[in-house]
Symmetry: C2
DNA sequence: CACACAGGTTCAATGATCAGACCCATCTCG
DNA sequence: CGAGATGGGTCTGATCATTGAACCTGTGTG
């Protein structure tokens, strides 16, 4: 996003958009909720230029939304994980998915409360349990009979199975 | 947003971001919730280049988020109002404001349920009434003792008084 | 040691944004 | 009626972000 700032806007919406409002940023955060943690997986799943991905990851880490730590399995590599501030973005992601689902292209995925298997309401709450589950208690699965553009990258393939948010893919 | 599209992303989040993910777009929608309806008011309140504002308004009208109608008081002018699809963006706006409030710059405004005057919870629900009020039942007011960069444009001045969302400023 | 691979950085070309100048229709005041 | 002010734009050159491809480096593998 150009300038990456909204000067003179004394508003926390503008402040939030300066951090997560750039192109690609919320898609990266979405994948982080899905459990994607590697640079190469993000790049393959999002079709994003490496330079932009590196720039966005640096920004997200700098703003405390993602944490970058060494990969214990592979020397020299890193894993990116959501911080507490990043996990707080779940209502933003879910409300945008819900809106896009109703008014834009229909969604390929649905979100259920892990405890009772009920699909989440528009505001992210579980209608059966009358509470709003945190993302680690949400399971995402492909929508049945959905025929989207079939991606074949490892992340897209792994997401054909139901998967609990925030757990490593 | 460059390209204004995320090709190959079979996801309603990407679809939503293609519509409302461009720079300035969500700030325009926020002002529409505040009751701003004129081109000139938006331009003065947002400090946005006229060409970009015209482009964004055209996009929002084209995607059915704003409706453009002739201004009955002034010939040749227009008013922009949120459609039903646009009003459905309230959870997106509120969740972003709430997040920015906790993790970015503190907010200058707060949101209360008109029926009971209780401040809304993070998920947009009213803690006292145990329901999620629609935006037309929400009142926004400046945060007490807040000293932000004082804007002097007509919209900023009008918003120093408590104001019900979606009603004309 | 040669090689592949993850994870970047650098580069030229492209496309979006910006500030400011310009334009036209309507309203206001003399 | 005519002159100027205002709203709502469009147009233009300069600036800045994004893109895809090429290149670089450190680590594991055969």
């Amino acid at each position: 996003m150009l300038g990456s700032a909204y000067p003179q806007q004394d508003c926390s919406l503008a402040g939030a958009l300066e951090i997560v409002g750039e192109r690609w940023t919320l898609l990266i955060v979405r994948d982080a909720f899905y459990g994607v943690q590697r640079f190469s997986e993000l790049q393959a799943h999002l079709d994003i230029p490496k330079a932009v991905l590196a720039d966005r990851l640096e920004g997200l880490v700098g703003h405390g939304i993602l944490a970058r730590r060494p990969d214990p399995e592979h020397g020299g590599r890193h894993l990116y994980e959501l911080t507490a501030a990043g996990r707080d973005l779940w209502p933003v992601i879910h409300s945008l998915v819900t809106w896009g689902n109703r008014h834009g292209r229909a969604n390929s995925r649905l979100f259920r409360h892990a405890a009772c298997d009920t699909e989440l309401a528009a505001d992210g709450s579980c209608p059966a349990c009358a509470l709003t589950p945190p993302p680690q208690d949400v399971i995402t699965a492909p929508r049945p009979r959905h025929r989207g553009a079939r991606r074949e990258d490892p992340v897209a393939v792994a997401l054909r199975e139901p998967h609990r948010l925030l757990t490593r893919l």
